[in-house]
Amino acid sequence: MITKFPTGLKRFISSHRLVIIIAGVVVIVGGYAIWSKLSWDGYESAYKNWHEQTKGQLRTALAIPSDQHDKKVQALLNIANNIREQQDTACETNGLIGWQRFVGALQEREKSCQKARDDLVSLGASLNAFTAYMADDQALAAILKRATTKSDLPESEWEAQVLVWKSIVDKIAGLKVASEFTPVKTKALGVTKQIYDSWQAVMAAHAAKDKTKYLQSQARLVQSYGAGSSIADASSEQVKELLEAVTAAQNSLNN
């Protein structure tokens, strides 16, 4: 069934056809222009919000007291994870407006977004490295904690110490760590092996009742324990480098 326009309307359309076509084109082009403007504004506010939110999250995480170790590390890790989740899709433009980037101002917006994204990715990478390091730090500390003992040891407990140190050396050797933690692991392995060797020398001299070797090995045992602080020194060096990377990333973020 064909709809019939009233005669008056038909006449109006035929006499104003050109005006109606032009008006239609103006409405479509204008609508597209407005929609494009809104899309680009949304694009800009999205990356700025992401940027500001991350800075806020970092401030919040840093404000967590250090005695809440796990909570603080988790907060830093969450920031790194959030960045990783968004980094691939950030700064993508809708195909319907992406072609407009030949306009200088829009191109600048896209560059600003990419700069913000790169800064956030650097921050995420530095936080990721730091939190991975902290996990290794805790794992190694947990192993070494088994070495704490009472200050005076009767000979009946020496053998147990040898076994403890053997197990510590084995556990450290089998520890899978991040590359940043490798120097600390290597140092810890060297020091604990030295302590284990010293204990073995003490036990050998003790079994042989060789006073000279016993006193010598006892002194070496003391010296080998003294080298323990070099593990903490190695760790402090690594942490310093990791935190310099976080500071550099944060500086870029603020500039």
Binding site: R59, L62, A63, S66, H69, K72, V73, L76, F130, M134, D137, Q138, L140, A141, L144, K145, A147, T148, T149, K150, S151, D152, L153, P154, E155, W158, V184, V202, H206, K209, K211, T212, K213, Y214, L215, Q216, Q218, A219, R220, L221, V222, Q223, S224, Y225, G226, A227, G228, S229, S230, I231, A232, S235, S236, V239, K240, L243, V246, T247, Q250, N254
Partner: protein, 244 residues
């Protein structure tokens, strides 16, 4: 230029300075917060708790010692390795990390670049010992002896006293020369322990040479280069009867 306009410029200038300094403060505090993340490490605390146990004298050794009355008092082996004991104490208000102080001082004393080369093992004991290592608030140094000043570390009798200010910040000349804090700590512990071992101050042996550890390197290098460890000619001790 009218007075009103001049006042306007001054106000705007002050506002800009205010905004600038606020942002600097914020940036510095954020840097400090990031630096404070280092305290999340568990290792330094754990390592500081691991100390060499005191091995109770085994029965067979007691019997041997009873038979060798002369050897009973000095725990010295035929190899010449001798155990020197020391206790650690503090005086005044201490803000430095005491566990780190104990741990680093022990590491320095037993380092094979240091006095340990003379065949000595230094063992920390809970009290007494052959000497007392003190971490002291700077203002408390003169309370040990009139010869001790607030500026530097000191040795008075059995007390080997480390000035907390120097421990935390070395000296301007050391820092200006690019010396690390850890090396300064090695140097100051070795230097003051050297006094206890029987050493007086030494002079630079010649321009460009490593300074003797007993030289007052915090005050003047006399052309020598910084050196935190005793040089070969310093490996003797009247206190322990060790000769060159």
């Amino acid at each position: 230029m009218s007075v009103r306009r001049l006042a306007g410029y001054i106000i705007v200038g002050l506002m800009l300075v205010g905004v600038g300094s606020t942002s600097l403060i914020v940036s510095a505090s954020e840097k400090q917060e990031i630096a404070s993340l280092a305290s999340l490490q568990t290792l330094p605390k754990t390592v500081a708790e691991i100390k060499a146990p005191n091995l109770q004298e085994p029965e067979w050794l007691k019997q041997q010692n009873a038979a060798e009355a002369a050897a009973r008092r000095v725990p010295q082996g035929g190899s010449g390795i001798r155990v020197v004991t020391y206790s650690v104490t503090t005086r005044g208000v201490i803000t430095a990390n005491l566990a780190e102080f104990k741990s680093q001082a022990n590491a320095t004393l037993n380092d094979q670049r240091g006095w340990a080369r003379m065949g000595i093992a230094f063992r920390e004991v809970a009290s007494g010992g052959n000497f007392t290592l003190v971490l002291s608030e700077a203002s408390q140094l003169p309370s040990f002896s009139s010869g001790c000043g607030v500026e530097y570390s000191c040795r008075a009798g059995r007390y080997v006293i480390i000035n907390q200010d120097r421990w935390l910040g070395a000296t301007p000349s050391w820092n200006q020369a690019g010396g690390s804090l850890r090396d300064y700590r090695h140097m100051v512990v070795n230097h003051e322990t050297g006094h206890w071992l029987g050493h007086d101050h030494a002079e630079c042996g010649g321009a460009g040479q490593p300074a003797p550890v007993m030289q007052q390197q915090s005050i003047s290098l006399q052309g020598c280069i910084f050196n935190p460890w005793p040089i070969a000619s310093e490996l003797w001790s009247t206190q322990l009867g060790i000769r060159l």
